[in-house]
Symmetry: C2
Subunit: 332 residues, 2 copies
């Protein structure tokens, strides 16, 4: 920039004003500066600018699993929305590990991100402290967390799961199993509650034997949980998987048990994805509005950046049940 100033024969202040339009500059000098910029091949140094301005134009995005299609769709949508408004995104992935999340959180803070969108892996004092300090706006996505009363964009997990279970009940299923997720995660708990609500509503007992927890989010754990259900003396005629990873495990388990879906056991699961609609059986899924989640979260965050005031807002979006071939009327 000093080179540009020299080449154009003007002061640094004028160059800055000409480039950013932050102060009036005569047409002539503006032209001279532009010519000089081109001549010297000047490019702004965003780091210096950030230091001076106290903001980086970057938002931190923390998610728990980058190989999960649900998250990649959300990421895509957030990046799109952010870039459109001139913000960059710094993505970190905690791998469902609170310790890793803590580490990456520190990194994002050090780097002075202007705001944070986070699907948290679980409670950490650091996130708590960060939120309490109010230093930067935070928007929670996918999961709420106790003690952090921040802006959030989530979906109505209980209602969505209830819909799915009702659908299975409507097909005549009575013994319906569920593979639940990590208990610490609000999302998992809500989905479990939705399941219970639907069962109770139908006058059915909530049988502990039909609840199979997959303690971590992984297809292995989903497989284990599914095997447990399928090995039951009177095995469920339908199984609901609380997320797409456990759905993989479930489908593999069904195959390994020598059963077929949907003839032997109907299946529905959370999270839609491209492949769900392609293979046999085409999966009945609960599709989350990933696009909307990303857009809303980004919009919310950027609004907070402008105006910190006001109580936290929680947006609850609705998910949509997509009935396909993996769930059928219970025969016999």
């Amino acid at each position: 920039m000093v080179d540009v100033a020299r080449a154009a024969g003007v002061s640094l202040a004028t160059v800055s004003a000409a480039i950013n339009g932050s102060a009036p500059v005569s047409a002539e000098l503006k032209a001279r500066v532009q010519a000089a910029v081109a001549e010297v091949g000047y490019q702004v140094n965003a780091v210096a600018r950030s230091l001076k301005k106290g903001s980086t134009g970057t938002i931190g995005l923390m998610i728990t699993d980058i190989t999960n299609p649900f998250f990649t769709n959300v990421i895509h949508s957030i990046q799109d929305a952010a870039h459109r408004r001139g913000y960059s995104v710094m993505l970190c992935c905690s791998d469902e590990d609170p310790a890793k999340e803590r580490l990456h959180l520190q990194l994002l803070i050090d780097r002075m991100v202007d705001g944070l969108i986070i699907a948290t892996a679980g409670h950490t004092d650091e996130l708590h402290a960060l939120w309490r300090s109010g230093r930067i706006p935070i928007v929670l996505i996918d999961r709420l967390i106790d003690g952090i009363d921040a802006d959030a964009v989530i979906i109505d997990n209980a209602a969505a799961t209830r819909d799915a279970i009702r659908h299975l009940l409507g097909l005549g299923h009575r013994r319906i199993g569920i593979i639940t997720g990590r208990r610490e995660i609000s999302t998992s708990r809500e989905r479990y509650e939705g399941y219970c609500q639907a069962m109770v509503e139908a006058g059915l007992p909530v049988d502990d034997a039909l609840i199979a927890p997959a303690v971590r989010f992984s297809s292995q754990d989903g497989y284990g949980a599914a095997m447990k259900l399928l090995a039951l003396p009177d095995r469920p005629t339908a199984i609901f998987a609380s997320n797409n990873l456990s759905a993989i495990g479930l489908m593999r388990a069904i195959k390994d048990m020598g059963l077929t879906c949907p003839d032997d056991v109907s299946v529905a699961c959370f999270d839609d994805f491209d492949w769900a609609n392609v293979f046999h059986p085409r999966l009945t899924t609960v599709a989350q509005p990933t696009q909307a989640i990303g857009v809303q979260a980004t919009t919310m965050l950027l609004e907070r950046l402008k105006d910190t005031a006001g109580p936290p807002r929680v947006i609850r979006l609705k998910a949509e049940l997509r009935v396909r071939d993996s769930s059928i009327v219970r025969t016999l």
Copy 2:
């Protein structure tokens, strides 16, 4: 930091030295500084540090499609490797659009990333200029590009495709179709070449009617290309999809045509993914070593950061054919 200095009763230089270990500091002062850091709640300002040091400890990662499992696996591996070495990753997604890539490239440069790992969406003068300028190290992944003779980590696409086609030939297939990708992408061209090599090697003609281009990377285009092949008077008995997106389109097309895989048409495709092994038919795929790609690319880049000298190195990794149920012996 000035607060820390005050609290500890030492100079700024000493605080910096104590924190970074960049100069010897007596045990006593070190302790005082540490206490002061804790007391004040000091956190480094990475932006200021970057400005002074001239490096940000961040590498730019540009990919073309974040919803593609191949890329998410690579991203995951790169982030892991980078974080392990104290680097952050700034991820940008071009959506296969060179114009977007150009934009994001500028962004990464402005932000002073120390290096760049890129799966390019196609030729842009900017990337070319950046590479020629030699200002920051660049590692190409997945795709080479004319005119940029940089470090690269790719796989042996021709060999991998040849293996897959040989496998189909070995099953007795003679009319084998292929859905090819964007011609501008080296990866697509190499896979096509591998197909040709295998056909010629088997003494078969390369029939233009069996080559169905999907001009963009999308399942829609894959679907269109597949429909064209399946509508042929003497349709192919096996089809190879050049990437996982076109594989989705292909599977959907088969279903929509009222055909079944593998009975009516055998299928193999590039890129393995979790779901490929779960549904019916379990897909025969060419699995890329995504983990290794990420690690190698990161290692290569960080080595270059230390030492710019030496000619560009191109690492070519091997992909592995995973034979499953979607490809079977041709009956009749």
